[in-house]
């Protein structure tokens, strides 16, 4: 029997990979992918907690579905922004997008 | 009609504002239209005040046509207006002189719209002072009249002339307008404080209530007994009004302001604005502070006498025609104050009544004659562009009609019997004689020099060998100008020949007002 902690450890690892991607990668798409990973880690957590702790209600699943929807929307908006930035500046490297500098 | 009668005073008071708004909405380039709208519009308050004059009941004591609306409830101040015979006379004077002054301003070419706007606002300010029965409202209007006048002098005043001060040369009109503004403001400051003192002590600003309660006020304010507070307030009032009248030695703003103001501005300044101060004495100082007024009446009489004497002397010493006329105002208003001082000393005696009758009538008469004189100075100035008496000379043959009018108006100013000024001066002197005999005798020096300066003016302008320089360059007074001076001349003659026209109203008002409230 796989216990809850397995799921949690897995989700934490996935989250850390995602966080690393977000913080360390230069390519904006990679950052976006990192964010996706972090979201998925959260979803795994939700599902795991639902399964082990609150099986009667479907709130955990509902939450997971909403997160998917948001993630999809976010990717759509994010990619659209990147395309717009790319068109103007011909790059999507994160450290070159620094117009808000002092 | 019902509506008009119910809100007559408010209509009189604010109709100039409406006209002013209409004027400001007219197109800038339509100078003629602006002038005519302003002139015809200013006839509305005149018409309304004629209605007021004829529906006014001189036998009824107290104030008539009263209107009262809450204005500032937390401090018990209300928009309260009303007239009695004294204010009625002044309202008539104001609404009469304003259209004439506007008509006299037809020669203004620069920013006519704004000029007319200021003029109409000025009328409202002056009317407000005469009509209001609430100290705070009184003060508001008192100050409101100041602002338009400042701009009239500062912007449309005489363009030439410089005044050296502290080694720097500044434009005379700038100097004059500043002096006028600052001086009057300095007086008003004390007035405002005094009004607030009274408001705090009495708990109301309503004059009618104050007239009755002022004598019986008790208690202390900030540790000061009421008597002291009243003395302080009395002096604050007196100084504010004395500056406006002006009483010697607070008079030096007057010759500057009058000389530099545009013609119509001088007309209103001498004709009405000076009366505000005297009106303040009559309406507020005498009934609110009878004891203090009586106590200090001698000082006031002394200052008035000095104003009469030094005003006349300084006028005689002028070479500037307009300044000569300006100083004559100091001289003439001195008689008003002398009468008021005498009345303050012995209120409700026959002499006091006579002195007050004379003072109020003198206010009216001086309004006519001073406005007329300033207008005539303006007429000659517009043609010659000089005010220096030594540069005129022998102009009578060139401008006989103007000359005749000038002599007539001068004589009215001199107080020739048969013209207005005489009766009022006689009444003042008669009223003052038993009370301040010595000052009355001294004031005769001033009366004598009145003759001297008037004749000096006529001598230098009209008489003597013709100054060839003006031959062919001087046009006779035109129809518009004759139209302006005619009503003034008719009134001067009417008041002189049949003084009862005004005195009947004034006399009853004076008797009823001061027997009620002092």
């Amino acid at each position: 029997m796989i216990s809850l902690s397995y799921f949690l450890v897995f989700a934490a690892a996935l989250f850390c990979i995602g966080l690393y991607g977000v913080l360390a990668r230069k390519n904006a798409i990679a950052i976006l992918m990192g964010i996706e990973l972090m979201l998925n880690a959260v979803v795994i957590n939700l599902i795991a907690f639902w399964r082990f702790r609150n099986f009667e209600n479907i709130t955990g699943q509902a939450f997971a579905v909403i997160v998917f929807a948001i993630a999809a929307a976010e990717v759509a908006v994010g990619l659209a922004l990147f395309i717009a930035i790319y068109r103007r500046r011909h790059t999507i490297a994160a450290d070159e997008i620094d117009l808000l500098k002092w | 009609m019902e509506f008009i009668m119910n809100y007559l005073l408010t209509l009189i008071l604010f109709s100039p504002v409406l006209i002013a708004i209409v004027v400001i909405l007219l197109p800038q380039e339509e100078v003629k239209l602006v002038r005519w709208v302003a002139f015809l519009g200013s006839l509305i308050p005149l018409a309304l005040s004629l209605i007021l004059w004829f529906s006014f009941n001189p036998d009824q004591p107290g104030f008539q046509f009263q209107e009262q609306y809450a204005w500032y409830e937390p401090i018990n101040s209300s928009y309260h207006v009303g007239v009695d015979g004294i204010s009625l006379t002044m309202v008539m004077l104001t609404t009469l002189l304003t259209p004439l002054a506007i008509l006299a301003s037809y020669t203004i070419k620069d920013r006519v719209k704004l000029y007319m706007f200021f003029f109409l606002m000025l009328e409202m300010g002056m009317l407000g002072v005469f009509l209001s029965l609430d100290l705070l409202v009184f003060f508001v209007f008192w100050e409101l009249g100041l602002v338009p006048m400042y701009f009239l002098i500062n912007q449309w005043g005489s363009e030439t002339g410089e005044r050296e001060i502290w080694g720097r040369k500044i434009k005379a009109r700038t100097y004059a307008s500043f002096k006028f503004m600052i001086y009057t403001m300095a007086g008003s400051l004390g007035l405002l404080l005094a009004i607030q003192l009274i408001g705090v002590v009495a708990g109301t600003f309503d004059m009618l209530i104050l007239f009755e309660q002022m004598g019986s006020l008790k208690g202390t304010l900030m540790g000061l007994p009421v008597g002291t507070v009243k003395t302080i307030a009395f002096w604050a009032f007196v100084i504010a009004f004395a500056i406006k009248v002006p009483v010697w030695p607070f008079h030096t703003w007057l010759p500057d302001a009058h000389t530099e103001a545009p013609t119509a501005g001088s007309m209103i300044l001498a004709g009405v604005l000076l009366k505000l101060g005297a009106y303040g004495f009559l309406r507020l100082v005498l009934p609110l502070y009878p004891t203090e007024a009586k106590y200090y009446a001698g000082v006031l009489a002394l200052l008035a006498t000095l104003a009469i004497i030094f005003g006349a002397l300084a006028s005689y010493g002028q070479n500037d025609f307009k300044r000569l006329v300006a100083y004559s105002s100091v001289n003439h208003m001195g008689f008003v104050i002398l009468g008021i001082a005498a009345a303050a000393f012995a209120i409700n005696t026959e002499s006091a009544t006579l002195a007050l009758n004379g003072a109020v009538l003198q206010m009216f008469n001086h309004g006519l004659s001073a406005a007329g004189m300033f207008f005539l100075v303006g007429v000659i100035y517009e043609r010659t562009h000089t005010r220096d008496l030594n540069e005129y000379g022998g102009l009578f043959p060139l401008i006989p009609v103007y000359g005749g009018i000038l002599i007539f108006t001068s004589m009215a100013s001199l107080g020739l019997p048969g013209l207005g000024g005489f009766i009022s001066e006689f009444l003042v002197v008669r009223g003052t004689w038993p009370i301040f005999t010595f000052f009355t005798i001294l004031s005769m020096i001033g009366l004598f020099f009145t003759g001297a300066y008037i004749l000096k003016g006529i001598k230098q302008v009209l008489h003597g060998p013709l100054n060839e320089r003006w031959k062919g360059h001087l046009s006779e007074i035109n129809v518009r100008e004759v139209f302006i001076i005619t009503p003034l001349m008719i009134l001067m003659l009417l008041v002189g020949v049949w003084p009862a026209v005004l005195l009947d109203v004034i006399n009853r008002a004076v008797m009823m007002f001061y027997s009620l409230y002092s």
Binding site: - | G317, P417, G451
Partner: protein, 724 residues
């Protein structure tokens, strides 16, 4: 029509004429003078009707024609004005109506009506003459018409109005109104040729000198009014009022109010009737259109001053016990007698034909004042009455003379003063009507015995002085009378007798009928006007005509004055001085050749110079009043007091305020208030400047920072705050 209505209307026609001329007819000279004369004529007729009614009424003194109306309110009462015709009014009206009408008619001729327009005449200057061409082509210089002809008639109409108002008033205030209106008219008429600087100065001098008297008189009116509560004659001359006036004492020397009021009113008279020390204006008043305004200033207006003191005689004499004169009367007697002699001495040394008359007027008015001063009420009124006629006659006559000589001057083109008597002589034959009438007037003025009016009135004054034992007055007046006869005969001799001394006098012509007719009328009065005043007990001729003046005019007073008994002594004095003076005058001046100096010059030496310069009063007044007044006005009051001191104080206050403002700004506002504000701003800026380096603009770095802070907070929370 009620009599009083007629009296009310009496002053109106000239006033209407004034307004009509000013507003409507001033372009038509003929219409203007017609209106003017018509106005004067209507008033004249009215006056005569009133006189007839007055004689019929009987006891006019006790029951004068009077009616009043309310003029203006004075507290609970009204100030009433009205008309009042008592015997004194009637007598005054009579001579005023006659002389005024005569002046109006005379003016038509004097101002050259019907003559052509002048070649170079300008308004405000006397006409200089015109050149006309006769049928033979000869060019002549003839007098030209006055350019301001209509205006002149307007002014004298207004003048007549003023005089009528003064005479018919029932109170002192409207009397004062008429008084001042005449003052204005005299100003306008003296300054009629305003373009002449001398006329302009004379006009101002006249107005201001009389104004000195007027303001004091105003005080008198005011004082009287405040004590009596009225200015109407019936009140102020009533027993109670007079008692009140005498019993009220004043702080000044303890004299009664009656004395003070009397003196104040009398000062008005001093100004108006040109008594010393305010006499200086009258001789200069001759600057006006020669005879007419001069005569107005001699026969009419100046009479107003005497009329006033006669009118207020009850007040002046209030407190008189046993015929002992009051202080006011003593002062009047002194000033009157002094002026009488003083002016007569000046007249002796004047060469201008009008100036002589001007000084003689001053002198004669002094006579009347002195008469009032010794209590000779009727005599004063009588002399006022006769004097008006013969002085009017003399002035008009002198105008006629000047006119004639001017005609000669125009004809010959000589450059001489047509008014200087030494340029005349022998006019007797050239201007017979003028000569004879002038002679009658002159004799009347000198008091030529029995025939002339002047004799009777003057004699009455001397007789009164004698009867009241006023010896000094008697002697002074007698001396003055001697001088009067002397200078009058000097004038007549120099002007009319002997031979012409200049070419112009040779070519003088008699004036037109409009001028001579009034002369003839007035000459008649200069004789008959004295007859009604012949004392009843006068030897031989007394009693033929009832002593009408005494009975009638004396009735005006509540207490009918007693007629003095005849005495030979004053009569002899009268006879002596007048005949002696006349003879002396003729004797000294009977044969003066052309260019010869005045014989008096040699006889009097330096005194003559003093007399000729009028005792230097003009110079004196100029020195002690006029210049200092201007200095006080301009330099002291305006430049020093107002500009330097008062404005100086204001500017000082402004400057102090300005400096305080500067101090506040420089030492408080700038360093402290502004300094604090700046400090805060600067500090924030500095902090911001050093902190801005973390603002890299890179999202990932922000996120790392957020992570660090989040962890930091978490650690802080876990390890420090959640400690038990």
């Amino acid at each position: 029509m009620e009599t009083s209505t007629l009296v009310w209307l009496l002053p109106v026609p000239p006033l209407l004429a004034f307004f009509l001329i000013i507003f409507l007819t001033n372009r038509s000279k003929r219409l203007s003078h017609t209106l003017g004369i018509l106005g004067a004529l209507l008033s004249f007729i009215g006056s005569m009707v009133i006189m007839v009614l007055a004689f019929q009424s009987g006891h006019l003194g006790e029951h004068p024609f009077t009616s009043v109306i309310n003029w203006f309110p004075t507290g609970d009462t009204w100030f009433q004005i009205g008309v009042w015709v008592d015997p004194l009014t009637v007598a005054t009206l009579f001579f005023v109506a006659w002389t005024v009408l005569m002046i109006f008619i005379y003016s038509v001729g004097y101002q050259n009506f019907g003559q052509p327009k002048g070649d170079h005449d300008a308004p405000g200057l006397p006409p200089h003459g015109a050149t006309v061409e006769d049928e033979h082509g000869h060019k002549h210089r003839v007098p030209s018409i006055e350019p301001l002809y209509s205006r002149f008639f307007a002014f004298i109409s207004l003048f007549a109005f003023g005089m009528y108002v003064l005479v018919v008033s029932n109170n002192l205030l409207t009397l004062f109104v008429g008084w001042e209106i005449m003052g204005l008219c005299s100003y306008l008429l003296i300054g009629f040729w305003y373009a002449k600087p001398s006329a302009r100065a004379a006009a101002i001098k006249a107005f201001l000198t009389t104004r000195v008297g007027d303001v004091v008189m105003l005080l008198g009116l005011v004082y009287l009014y405040s004590l009596a509560g009225s200015l109407s004659y019936n009140v102020i001359f009533s027993e109670e009022t007079l008692h009140l006036l005498t019993s009220t004492s004043t702080p000044i020397l303890g004299v009664s109010a009656a004395v003070i009021i009397g003196i104040f009113l009398f000062v008005g008279t001093i100004g108006k009737s040109a008594q010393w020390p305010l006499h200086v204006w009258l001789p200069d008043a001759m600057e006006g259109p020669t005879p007419v305004s001069a005569m107005i200033h001699a026969a009419t207006m100046v009479s107003a001053g005497v009329y006033l003191v006669i009118r207020v005689f009850p007040i002046i004499s209030a407190g008189m016990v046993h015929g002992e004169p009051t202080l006011t009367m003593n002062i009047m007697a002194f000033i009157g007698a002094f002026t009488g002699l003083f002016a007569a001495t000046i007249a002796v040394a004047q060469n201008d034909v009008k100036r002589v008359l001007a000084y003689s007027t001053i002198s004669q008015l002094g006579y009347m004042i002195a008469a009032i001063g010794i209590g000779a009420y009727v005599a004063a009124a009588f002399h006022l009455f006769t004097h008006a006629f013969f002085k009017a006659l003399l002035f008009l006559g002198s105008g006629s003379v000047i006119h004639g000589v001017e005609h000669g001057v125009l004809h010959t083109g000589e450059d001489i003063d047509p008014q200087d008597m030494f340029n005349m002589g022998g006019l007797r034959k050239k201007m017979p009507i003028t000569f004879w009438t002038f002679l009658i007037g002159g004799l009347a003025l000198s008091g030529f015995p029995f025939l002339t009016a002047g004799f009777w009135s003057k004699d009455e004054i001397l007789a009164d002085a004698f009867a009241h034992s006023s010896w000094i007055v008697l002697i002074v007046l007698a001396l003055a009378a001697l001088l009067t006869a002397f200078y009058t005969m000097r004038q007549i001799t120099l002007t009319f007798l002997g031979k012409p001394r200049t070419e112009s006098a040779e070519h003088a012509v008699e004036s037109k009928w409009t001028m001579t007719l009034p002369l003839i009328f007035l000459a008649g009065f200069a004789i008959v006007a004295g007859w009604p005043g012949i004392p009843l007990d006068f030897p031989v001729i007394g009693g033929f005509i009832p002593n009408f003046i005494h009975e009638f005019v004396g009735e005006t007073l509540a207490e009918h004055p007693e007629a003095i008994t005849f005495n030979w002594f004053p009569l002899l004095i009268s006879l002596g001085v007048s005949l002696g003076g006349l003879f002396l005058g003729w004797f000294v001046y009977r044969d003066i050749p052309a260019g010869a100096p005045d014989p008096l010059k040699k006889a009097l030496g330096p005194v003559y110079k003093i007399l000729q310069n009028k005792y230097y009063f003009d110079e004196l007044y100029d020195f002690i009043f006029v210049r200092p007044a201007y200095w006080i006005s301009r330099t002291f009051t305006y430049l020093w007091l107002d500009r330097k001191i008062i404005d100086g104080i204001l500017h000082f206050i402004a400057r102090v305020t300005f400096s305080i403002g500067g101090i506040l700004r420089n030492y408080i506002d700038k360093p402290i208030v502004n300094g604090f504000g700046d400090f805060v701003g600067e500090s924030v800026k500095r902090i911001g400047r050093s902190a801005r380096y973390i603002q890299t603009g890179r999202v990932q770095q922000y996120m790392v920072m957020a992570l660090i802070i989040a962890f930091g907070t978490l650690f802080y929370y876990l390890f420090f705050l959640s400690q038990p």
